[in-house]
């Protein structure tokens, strides 16, 4: 399983314009970050005591990690349900996952006020250690995300080792790579099992988190089923991201697209999205919240918009004929990514109403900081696929000849 894959580095020189733009943009970003770390979160953000969590949490962390569930979703399919044919999708999915989660970790450090104490969490405090509050869903999220960032990079390890094994001039590095790949051959299943367990735990807990909001979270979103809804929707988003990302990278880097494989993925999306909608409505009906769907003012509109974002792609993918047309499938995937994202934004921001008269809108610099996090992620993705064997190896021209 860990044996050498067919993935190859894209190769070629880095695009000068792209690199120049990113260097300037990220330079500005670092300056804004310095400003935030010296003068506080208030000077760069629209956050208030009533809305302590804004886009940094709702987008960078909660939505970002859900969009980074490609590695998780593909691993379930490929390794647990034993559909080995999806194997070529694993590495690109793992890379976006590893980067997405790492960026979420970075966003947390930017967001928390007393960031210098973050290292105390895994120790349960310091010097008074071991005081973990297991009542806290956030503790579980924090520990799981920290562990999962490590697991993802370990899962991706063979890509780096293969490169070093085949091209490094240092014999020590080649030896290390050889030994490493041998180790992976034995241990990878247990590492991947960890890579499936951890997201199952924290993606559901990301939903549980908002239950503590209590009466502040609107009834259409507050439900004991929230952990399950978050878990199911992140799997759907994971598949959707894999479709979108393969389509994008194949056109950007001129690789052959795995059309038939991606199209059969849409079957999984149909299952997951239907299950989500059944549970979402089932819960609202059982708990007698049907009137809330219509009499909650503009939140009713938000609710139906959110449901529509799930339902439309489900309809697009439901018929085999429609979904075997790749552009339809791609559009549906993008809608599904938006749907899962909107569900998360609504739960964390829109439907969170702490007190009458209180509102939140992100400031320019707050959004700029988020944009910088995304830019850093894109830059790293670009650099890694250029230099390391991530993407499927067949350039489009070569196969056309």
């Amino acid at each position: 399983m860990a044996g050498h894959s067919h993935a190859q580095p894209v190769g070629g020189p880095l695009n000068k314009k792209f690199v120049t733009f990113m260097v300037i943009f990220l330079g500005l970003w670092v300056a804004v970050l310095a400003y935030r770390f010296i003068f506080g979160i208030g000077v760069v953000s629209g956050l208030t005591d009533y809305y302590p969590w804004g886009v940094w949490i709702a987008f960078d962390v909660v939505t970002g990690t859900a969009l980074a569930c490609g590695g998780y979703a593909i691993a379930i399919l490929c390794y647990i349900l034993n559909k080995g044919k999806y194997h070529p999708l694993v590495r690109p999915a793992l890379l976006t996952s590893a980067l997405g989660y790492s960026m979420a970790g970075l966003a947390i450090v930017i967001d928390v006020g007393r960031w210098w104490g973050v290292w105390r969490i895994p120790l349960g405090g310091f010097p008074d250690m071991g005081n973990y509050n297991w009542d806290s869903a956030l503790l579980e999220v924090a520990l799981c995300v920290m562990a999962y960032i490590g697991v993802l990079w370990i899962e991706l390890g063979p890509a780096f080792l293969e490169k070093w094994e085949s091209t490094s001039k240092s014999s020590a590095l080649v030896g290390f790579a050889k030994a490493g790949l041998k180790f992976y051959d034995k241990a990878l299943v247990w590492i991947i099992a960890m890579g499936v367990l951890l997201p199952t735990m924290h993606q559901s807990s990301l939903g549980t988190l908002m239950l503590l909001g209590g009466q502040k979270l609107h009834g259409l979103w507050y439900t004991p089923w929230i952990p399950l809804l978050f878990l199911i929707s992140c799997v759907g988003m994971g598949y959707a991201v894999v479709v979108w990302e393969s389509s994008l990278s194949s056109s950007l880097f001129k690789r052959e697209r795995e059309d038939s494989m991606l199209i059969s993925l849409s079957g999984a999306m149909v299952v997951v999205t239907s299950l989500y909608l059944v549970l979402r409505f089932g819960d609202l009906i059982i708990s007698g919240k049907v009137p809330l769907m219509f009499n909650s003012g503009w939140l009713s509109v938000v609710f139906w918009a959110e449901i529509g974002l799930f339902a439309v792609p489900l309809w697009m993918l439901a018929s085999k004929q429609r979904r075997s047309h790749f552009p339809v499938m791609l559009r549906a995937s993008i809608l599904l990514m938006l749907a899962g994202s909107m569900y998360r934004f609504d739960t964390y921001i829109t439907a969170y109403q702490p007190a009458p008269g209180q509102t939140y809108f992100p400031s320019f610099l707050e959004i700029f900081i988020t944009a910088g996090v995304i830019a850093l992620e894109i830059s790293m993705y670009y650099f890694i696929v250029k230099r390391y064997p991530i993407l499927g190896g067949v350039p489009a021209e070569a196969s056309a000849q």
Partner: protein, 295 residues
């Protein structure tokens, strides 16, 4: 293969069963501790002089005073008096930490910066706080405040003047010591005392003058007796508490349901370990089968 899938589904069923099973974890927050202390604020006695606001700032060494009154609780204000005024209804209202029986903040806090300690007082420890602000999300009263305009922020909230009333060496209450606000109040609109005594006091006031106090259906209400699982700061008023800015909560702590779900899923850490075992086994079998095929 079909065998493997069945094993997997069984594993998921185990995890699922954990999620819906009833849980005993919540008992410890069912009632205020026996030695609980608290405050009783009677809005009908308050004259809005804001002496308590200044006294609070002095007691807690925070900038500002009543001549430049704060508009809301903030990173340098732990206690405020506000005026509610609409048509012919007016009332003053005091805000500070409610010292919940089942505090959302303590439930939220990852490594215990928030703690419900001796006498049921809820305190905050800077050495255990990373500034994640989950406490602000978890507080139904929006009490904990964050210092937004500094690189080294603190969480700020009323700690019932724990540093004044509580002797850390003996662990007992200092004789006659009062929280700043209670000491300053000229009208005894806010008083400090043993929790059970305060409840008796409030009930007596209602018995003496039932027409003076608001309650649903004309039945005078002590806010905090059961609201949100109960609070060690109690309120009496002649207007609907919702108008005065207190939320309508059920009789259970808001933390309770979240805690039950979290503990249900993770009780004894059985479900995650079982799931991990099942996942690993399934994959191991899959990979062995694949290797055999390759020959």
């Amino acid at each position: 293969m079909s065998m493997d899938r069945r094993t997997l589904l069984k594993g998921l069923a185990v995890a699922g069963a954990g999620a819906v099973a009833p849980v005993e974890a919540s008992e410890k927050y069912a009632e205020a501790p026996d030695d609980a202390v608290g405050m009783l604020y009677d809005a009908t006695k308050c004259i809005g002089c804001q002496a308590c606001v200044t006294a609070c700032k002095t007691a807690n060494n925070m900038p500002g005073n009543r001549y430049n009154p704060p508009e809301d609780l903030s990173g340098d204000t732990k206690n405020i008096i506000r005026l509610y005024e609409e048509a012919d209804e007016t009332s003053y209202m005091k805000s500070q930490c409610m010292h919940c029986v089942d505090p959302g903040c303590c439930n939220a806090c990852m490594i215990g910066a928030f703690k419900k300690r001796e006498y049921g007082i809820v305190t905050w420890d800077p050495d255990r706080c990373i500034g994640c602000r989950y406490c602000q999300v978890a507080c139904p009263y929006n009490i904990p405040k964050f210092q937004w305009n500094t690189g080294v922020p603190l969480i700020v909230k009323c700690e019932l003047c724990n540093h004044i009333i509580h002797d850390p060496d003996t662990g007992t209450l200092r004789e006659g010591a009062l929280p700043g606000c209670c000491q300053a109040c000229p009208k005894e609109a806010v008083i400090f005392g043993k929790y059970t005594d305060l409840i008796e006091d409030a009930k007596q006031r209602i018995a003496d003058r039932p027409e003076r106090y608001w309650g649903p259906d004309g039945e005078p209400k002590i806010f905090g007796l059961t609201d949100g699982g109960g609070t060690q700061v109690l309120y009496l008023a002649d207007l609907n508490f919702e108008k005065l800015g207190l939320p309508t909560l059920g009789d259970e702590g808001t933390a309770k349901q979240a805690r039950e779900i979290q503990h249900g899923i993770y009780r004894g850490f059985i479900a995650p370990v079982a799931l991990y075992g099942v996942l690993g086994l399934v994959m191991w079998r899959n990979s062995r089968a694949a290797k055999k095929e390759e020959g």
